[in-house]
């Protein structure tokens, strides 16, 4: 496999509609059962228009984008900023590109910038992962 280069794009990941059923499943499995993700009324009380997808579910999909990249080995670090709410039922598109390739502690690593966007094109999360490159 050729070494990834700066500017290389990861295969785009299209996450199917994140339904309320999926949010309930994620709430139970993750331990984050804040009602703003499950109940429109609670979400409106919190200042939102209705129930929103957990930021950490969006981040998990961004993580899969990186770890499923054929060049990826072990994750060194992963961070995300949540920049807009993702309404329940949204589809999300995850994309990433290589920002740098460096040797870190003796191993080649790629720094990958990732973004998640909802159906209307608004970016809901931006992040960065540092991942070892598979031998």
């Amino acid at each position: 496999m050729t070494t990834p280069s700066v500017g290389d794009r990861l295969p785009v990941s299209e996450v199917p509609a994140i339904t309320r059923e999926k949010l309930r499943e994620f709430a139970a499995a993750s331990g984050d059962d804040n009602p703003v993700h499950l109940d429109d009324e609670a979400a409106r009380h919190g200042g939102l228009d209705g129930a929103v997808v957990h930021g950490m579910l969006v981040m998990a999909h961004l993580g899969r984008l990186v770890t499923s990249w054929p060049a990826a080995g072990a994750l060194r670090s992963f961070k995300a900023r949540f920049t807009a709410p993702t309404p329940a039922g949204s589809r999300v598109t995850c994309a990433g590109k290589v920002a740098s390739v460096d040797v870190v502690d003796g191993r080649p690593c790629a720094r990958v910038q990732v973004t998640a966007a909802r159906d209307d094109g608004v970016t809901v999360a931006r992040g960065e992962a540092v991942v070892e490159l598979a031998a």
Binding site: S30, G31, H45, G46, F78, R81
Partner: protein, 148 residues
């Protein structure tokens, strides 16, 4: 406004063990189907003691164990608190069945946008016995209902 004395507050450690079924359920909920996360035999064959926690799973486990006590103690309505940022720094993998210890501190509290937004930064170190597994940093944000 969050009282300044919360900055530097150490939270009581959380100690928990993640059942294998829970790891698999989390993996399924995020669409993760790599065998080391969902198949015990495959994880063993790959050299792991049990299924490997997906990289973002530690966040919710601590939240579930702690609940919203800190936010309530701070005088906040948990429904109005949003997750602004999250980071993980990985040192070692965590697996099902291991006793994990979460040690957390309120690293910072600060205001932005003319005081309209208030941010809470919590740093967490996760250990297994003497081994340092992962560091987490979460940033929460709450927007004032009425301008001060």
């Amino acid at each position: 406004m969050i009282a300044a004395e919360f900055v530097g507050k150490r939270l009581d450690p959380v100690v928990l063990t993640v059942p294998r079924e829970r790891v698999i359920a989390f993996a399924r909920a995020i669409g993760e189907d790599r065998a080391v996360h969902v198949d015990f035999d495959a994880a063993r064959a790959a050299g792991y003691p049990d299924v490997v926690l997906p990289p973002t799973m530690l966040f919710g486990l601590e939240l579930e164990a702690r609940g919203e006590k800190l936010l309530v103690d701070m005088g906040l309505d948990p429904l109005r608190v949003l997750h602004a940022e999250q980071s993980f720094t990985y040192h070692r993998d965590a697996h099902a069945g291991e006793e994990l210890r979460f040690e957390s501190v309120v690293a910072d509290v600060y205001r932005r946008m003319g005081g309209r937004l208030e941010f809470i930064v919590q740093d967490t170190a996760v250990h297994r016995g003497g081994e340092h597994l992962v560091d987490l940093r979460q940033v929460l944000v709450i927007e004032e209902k009425e301008p001060a």
